[in-house]
Amino acid sequence: MTRESGAGRPVGGRGTAHSARRPRAGVVATDLFLIVVMLVLLVLALDLSSGTARRFPLLAITVTLALLALDLSSELVPALRRRMAVLDRGLIEVREDVAETAKEASERGRTDESHDAPRAFKDWVVLAWVTALGAGMYAVGYLIAVPVFVAAFSIFARVPLKVWASTTVAIMLLNYFVLYQVFNLR
């Protein structure tokens, strides 16, 4: 199954089972969170002094809120969920085709030995690493933080020495010569 660029694959990529499933916790939580954010912004928008400055935010936030409410209801109410699934059917069928192709490819034993079992990390681990990179860039600047991050993460992820060493050196050279020297990014 391919990951759709820019668009998310539905959770679990379970295709037409969508309408029959129980409400998905992730979708419900996301919708609820976004609804709360929109409500806060709505209150802030109502506080704006100028009518002109208020008009567009009120419109955009209200419409988004309505859409979020509809999405949440379609997740919680089975009858509505089935109706929404009709709208998405075309794409789900395509995804199933692609998933089928993947299955066939793996059945034919056409997987490269290095990609047999791609290593998966817990989301909080990845999040911690990315946050550390961001914090490092704030604290010591990108020239130091970036190569240190690439090397440290690669060691943590058990990337072969040759690969991580060459990647780190390449990133270091790119940052120093191109960004720091040529483009004067300080």
Binding site: G6, G8, M38, S49, A120, F121, V178
Partner: protein
Amino acid sequence: MLEAAGSALEVIFTWPNILIPLLGTFVGLLVGILPGLGAAAGIALLIPLTYSWAPQQAFLLLASAIGGTSFSGSITAILINTPGENANAATLIDGYPMAKQGRASVALSLSAFASAAGALFGLLVLVAVLPVGRELILRFSYPETFMVAVMGLFIIALVSSGSLLKGLIAGGLGFVLALVGRDLLTGELRFTFGSLFLTDGIDFIAVLIGLFAVSEAMMLLIDPEPNLETEKLSRRQHWSQIGQGARLTFRNPRLLLQSSTIGTIAGIIPGVGGSVSSFMAYATAKSSLPDTQTFGSGDPRGVIAAEAANDAKDGGALIPTLAFGLPGSAVWAVVLGAFLIHGIAPGREMLTTDLDIVFVIIFGLIISNVLTSAIGLAASPFLAPVAKLPGTYVAPVIFAISLVGAYTTAGQRGDILIALIAGVSGYILKKNGFSLIPIVLALFLGPVVENSLGQLMLTLGPIALVTRPISLAILILGLLLFAVPLLRSRRERRRAAEARREQEEVER
């Protein structure tokens, strides 16, 4: 006119000027590949180098650098789901899935040929339209700008793969993000929470980088997936894929022409067109071609549409820039600054006494587009395997380049945080079936819609939207773009239901 063209060619093909397009193309390639370092920023950095140069040499360098950025931005979009430029975001919708399916060389080849063809088309139109360009551009005002932006809203619905509702929600989120900062009409601050950094709004590029690059790198690590076609390709197979890409490109002449035309026309509209041209062409292709269910899952036609329009827009964008000094996109706004530095005034003078410079720019763009495509194709056997590297190899590099790229845009550390937040949000939204493309489109279109609507209300009134012919035509086109796929899918569903009924009757 011919005399000016001859004079421009003479300038280009003399020593050492012949090296300038090579230098420009190289810089353009580099700028295009590095996410965050947009074409406008890259070109701005080149201008000081040209202070002491003759104007012809200076604009040959700038034009070839601009030509180099358009295609190279699609290389990273296809290989690692990271658009080098915002306009390349449309390329990744189908380009990246193609790379994941082991067809990276086909996608790169499609992109190279379509962008070269689109650029040539746009520049030919420019040459043809230059004498009458003034009349055309004078007809564009707030209603037309507003309508183009509204058409972008229709496009949101069309390009949002997956759930239509979630696509629209994502568009709404983009609009809300675009509201942050100072309201341009009243000067009032909105949703800045007292932060000085947010006064000028959320940086578009930082969000783009976060949504696509950071979230994709997270996905690679957290939710890795096996490649569909992971068989190692020999050099010969790579070249065969490239040939396949070339054949596919030229087997779709209608699509190529349609997308290039859209790109050129969109590029003409000052300030708006350039960035949405590839999305417009993509959406039009999706609604006008048969069997478009595969769009978004690695359909070569999606890559052709986006790339042809993306490169054709430069020809269109040059028309208002040269004729009026109204830049068609950010990068041409920077070139406008270079005109002033070199004592050249856009407008009548530019199209009469300085016509040789216009042709230097046109030839510079043509040369660099051909060069970039050739370099891209030659390098594709080495580039394509990048799409198949394990996530643990690629992800740290994407994280590093992305966050540095976000910082590069304006040199503000706050943009690193914006990219991080956008990345994590993008990951969560993707996991839950939301499309990210509408966020980007709405983020860009939000201020355009709001400002043009505000100006429209203050000046011509909303009635101008339907009384002005160009505005009305854009509205009708937008409605058609939206309605045609819906009607078609309804008809297909009805047909499928009838076929099922007949089948059941036969079985009975």
